[in-house]
Symmetry: C2
Subunit: 561 residues, 2 copies
């Protein structure tokens, strides 16, 4: 009898459920639901750095999408029974911490805090905590350099403790009401399994290791003495954080009766430990030694899994290197670009070049495709949302130069695509400089799927073939793979992530091969990109222009006051 698992994939704007066959990863049914709160699921404010989400959306989204895929699977497969679904996996954005009470209930679900953005989920791309991130980085540099060595040398404003500290300082009422803070990747499995209570919750090593400096080398989360220097209340909170963190092949618990009723699934099926979308996306794209998986969406995550048995130096500028964060037995390496699709979307949606009809992604792509590398004379930096790797600096902004009186929207669009490709190459170079050989690149995510021009430019810029994951939903598929492992062999699942990957993942036939002459031009252009990158990105660059963007931001902050 065929068995199935469901991957629940919590993205920036919507949640998706994917129902797949355990035997071959066949995608039977999928359903998405856009979060109800805010603008396309993101709660914004006058502060352009703020981005929150309402936890109610996460629960409602699980119910709606699971019910939808069960219904669709039943329609599609005569033999399908909901009891054939043997487990659930969960992937989410992150770091997206949620303040919860002593029973694990999200504060925003309480009437008192329902409309308070500080009590909601602090979405990964919330950049309100820049000052706190700098403070944590500075303190760790002085007292605990080992903490920073595993996250590229800089603790980000996007991450767990930066956000907690910012809340503590700017919304103390919320911070005081919170018993603890739970990552979205842990909160969903905990909610589905009734293990929300802080003494019962089982958290993933992915979120804890990459965003909260959790490492078994120093006994889990950062030590109390360190946290106390930031704020005594953070040290107190340390006592309420779990001692262990788990890999995705472990269960977070079993589906509650209540959730079984709400969804139609069988009560008691296991729910896998949650992880970030990028990490489970990499699993769903077949990540393994030598394979770089690029999940290209609004932002991009680059994931590799380096055998834990092999030596690996601390790589400066990575988002993190965490044992077990992708799969057990491997050091998960995470790098990324803070905005990729978001930059193209900005141009289309905010600038709206040539009117909405003329200047949509398709029209711009058609125009950009006709251009040769270097033809526009434009060069851009892909920093509209800061730089995650290798500069790890949120306080960088976009740059474009080379404009004439005849520069067209299509030229700008292509320059933005090229900028993200140059950014991608910078990450690959950094990995290889530190001995992590990139033998193949597998792309996934909406842009990799839908825009061959982008993939060709990536191939031409990097001089490497670009492969595409067979699945269009690698994140959800990765979650379903984790589910197929925690289901256990007896229930029809797989014994390990590796065996599950072999059965359930694959590549598309079409490979984007680099064009030699285009690559040659891009090699020249990349030198210029590096010049700009270093001039504006590196403090120590001689005769640096580094301070300009920062001072503009400072002035902006001041005049807005």
């Amino acid at each position: 009898m065929a068995k199935y698992t469901i991957g629940l994939d919590y993205g920036t704007n919507s949640v998706r459920a994917l129902l797949v066959s355990v035997s071959a990863g066949r995608e039977i049914a999928t359903s998405t639901w856009t979060y109800a709160h805010g603008h396309e699921g993101v709660v914004l404010s006058r502060d352009p750095n703020l981005a929150r989400q309402h936890p109610a959306d996460y629960l409602q989204g699980a119910e709606i999408t699971i019910k939808a895929v069960l219904k669709a699977a039943g329609r599609k497969l005569k033999s399908f029974k909901t009891s054939d679904v043997i487990a659930i996996g969960v992937d989410t954005t992150g770091s997206t911490p949620i303040p919860v009470d002593s029973e694990g209930v999200a504060l925003a679900l309480k009437k008192r805090f329902a409309n308070n953005p500080a009590a909601m989920a602090w979405l990964w791309k919330d950049h309100t905590s820049v000052v706190e991130a700098a403070e944590i980085t500075a303190l760790a540099k002085r007292l605990r350099p080992q903490y920073l060595a595993k996250c590229g040398g800089t603790y980000s404003s996007e991450w767990y403790f930066s956000k907690l500290l910012h809340c503590l300082r700017t919304s103390p009422r919320v911070f005081d009401a919170a018993y603890t803070w739970v990552e979205l990747a842990d909160w969903v499995p905990a909610s589905l399994t009734g293990n929300e209570a802080p003494d019962k919750i089982r958290v993933g090593i992915c979120a804890a290791g990459h965003k909260a400096m959790f490492n078994s080398d120093w006994g889990g989360y950062p030590d109390k003495a360190f946290l106390k220097k930031l704020d005594p209340k953070l040290a107190e909170l340390r006592d309420r954080l779990p001692a262990e963190a788990y890999t995705i092949d472990k269960p977070a618990g079993r589906l509650t009766d209540d959730w079984a009723r709400r969804t139609g699934l069988s009560a008691g099926i296991p729910v896998a430990i949650g992880a970030f979308d990028a990490h489970l996306g990499a699993v769903g794209a077949g990540v393994g030694p030598g394979t770089l998986v690029k999940i290209i969406g609004t932002s991009t995550c680059d994931i590799m899994a380096h055998p834990a048995s092999k030596p690996l130096a601390d790589i400066p500028g990575m988002c993190g290197q965490v044992n077990g964060s992708v799969m057990a037995g491997a050091i998960g390496l995470e790098a990324g670009q803070s905005a990729v699709g978001d930059i193209f979307n900005w141009f289309v949606n905010y600038i709206q070049p040539g009117g909405e009809t003329l200047g949509g992604h398709e029209a711009l792509t058609a125009g950009a495709k006709k251009l040769k590398p270097g033809e526009s004379g434009l060069m851009a930096l892909d920093w509209n949302n800061g730089n995650r790797t290798v500069l790890t600096d949120q306080r960088l902004t976009g740059l474009m130069l080379g404009q004439t009186l005849y520069t067209t929207p299509a030229e700008i669009y292509r320059a933005l695509v090229e900028a993200t490709a140059f950014g991608a190459l910078t990450i690959i170079n950094r990995l290889e400089e530190y001995g992590v050989k990139v033998r193949q690149i597998v792309n996934c995510g909406g842009i990799a799927e839908k825009n061959p021009m982008v993939m060709q430019i990536y191939a031409d810029v990097t001089g490497r073939p670009m492969k595409i994951s067979r699945s269009g939903q690698t994140c959800a598929l990765g979650a379903a793979i984790a589910a197929s492992v925690v289901a256990g062999r007896r229930a029809g699942g797989w014994p390990s992530v590796k065996t599950a990957q072999k059965a359930m993942t694959g590549l598309k036939a079409r490979v984007f091969k680099p064009d030699r002459s285009a690559h040659k031009i891009y090699q020249e252009l990349y030198v210029l990109y590096r010049q700009l990158h270093d001039a504006f990105g590196l403090d120590g660059w001689s005769g640096s222009c580094h301070n300009i963007m920062k001072q503009l931001l400072d002035i902006r902050t001041r005049v807005r006051k």
Copy 2:
């Protein structure tokens, strides 16, 4: 009996005739006509640097617009007789040289060359001659530094000899067919007076001095030995160039019978020596010692008149300092920005932000006006068409930085306006550094007239009041003032430019005063602008980014081949 003069103003896209009263500069009638050839009067090609015009348009435009103003004046004033028009003045763009045959007939007017862009007028903004400009600059630096000292240290690709040399090399058939090359500012008066023949033509000191290194100190145009080093054919041409050049208070000749018939004017009325639009625009705006006139249009020209009796060092980076180029007895100082309105137009017409309806100049201005200085976090360089002053480098391009995922078209529009204001301030600073005190600034041109936000930003950035010329057509008015002088007192004209200015020019009541707090922010922002300006503009800047734009342009040129 009231007397009138006509100013003919040849702009980039159209020609305007303005009929004014000699007594008070009252503007009786005006008429414009867009040149028939090319795109809005400019003949373009695949090469984005090429910009030409068809000489036939200049003659047709004179006829159409003069007839129109005479008709309109007759309708408006009962007493008006066409014989009350006592002279014509002419201003034009420049350097806009036209190849002509031995009788002064423009080659493009001959069937054989009618459609050959090389045989047309080489419009001021034609940038095909970058290589030749660099060669002339290098040669002059070595052999005739005095030539360069009067034009800011660099001979521009926009100028006379660069264009001739480029034609010689790339279209030798046209160059060989040309007996000589005549500036548009000289060609129109010569055509109207039948003095086109090279032995009869009287040329203006404005075009010759600013664009062709004409200076009585070294006997007029550059010497033959110098030109021979560029090309022997240029040296031969030197023999066919006039020996004298005149100020605008001198006549180019008298209107021919044929032109009297074509227009309805009286035959024999004097036509003044032609000059550039900016210089006559300055005259029409009341230029005099201490007064900087900014003619803000597609590009901007900054004109001052420094008493010839007072000492004046050679100012690096000026477009030129030429005795008599604005008026007799004063050293005309010309500076400028290669694109101002053109940058805003580029954004509106090429990028078309927010669709045509949403993103027009008015909507963008309304949005930009709401922003405070520094609020957008954006900073731009105003170099989309190169930098005319103080870097005198056509091979510079635009730059914008500070973009986020939320940057709006209005923010970009404001940043572009601010960039041009910073560019304007850079010119003022350079003048004052060399002892040319700027005591008042009078603005004119379409943007000064129509966009109070731009004027307020200029006031806030420079920290100086911005005054506006009373006339909306200062260039044409300046030409009419020149006409009122060459008409002679006996015919009802004025004895000098100064007396004519006093009677015929004035200021508007509204003065844009700098806002102190805005100016303070802009003082900070200007430091950043200078950093960018010097980083990208100065070769010697330590750790310079200067090469980036050049290399991009080189690559672009190469891949287009």
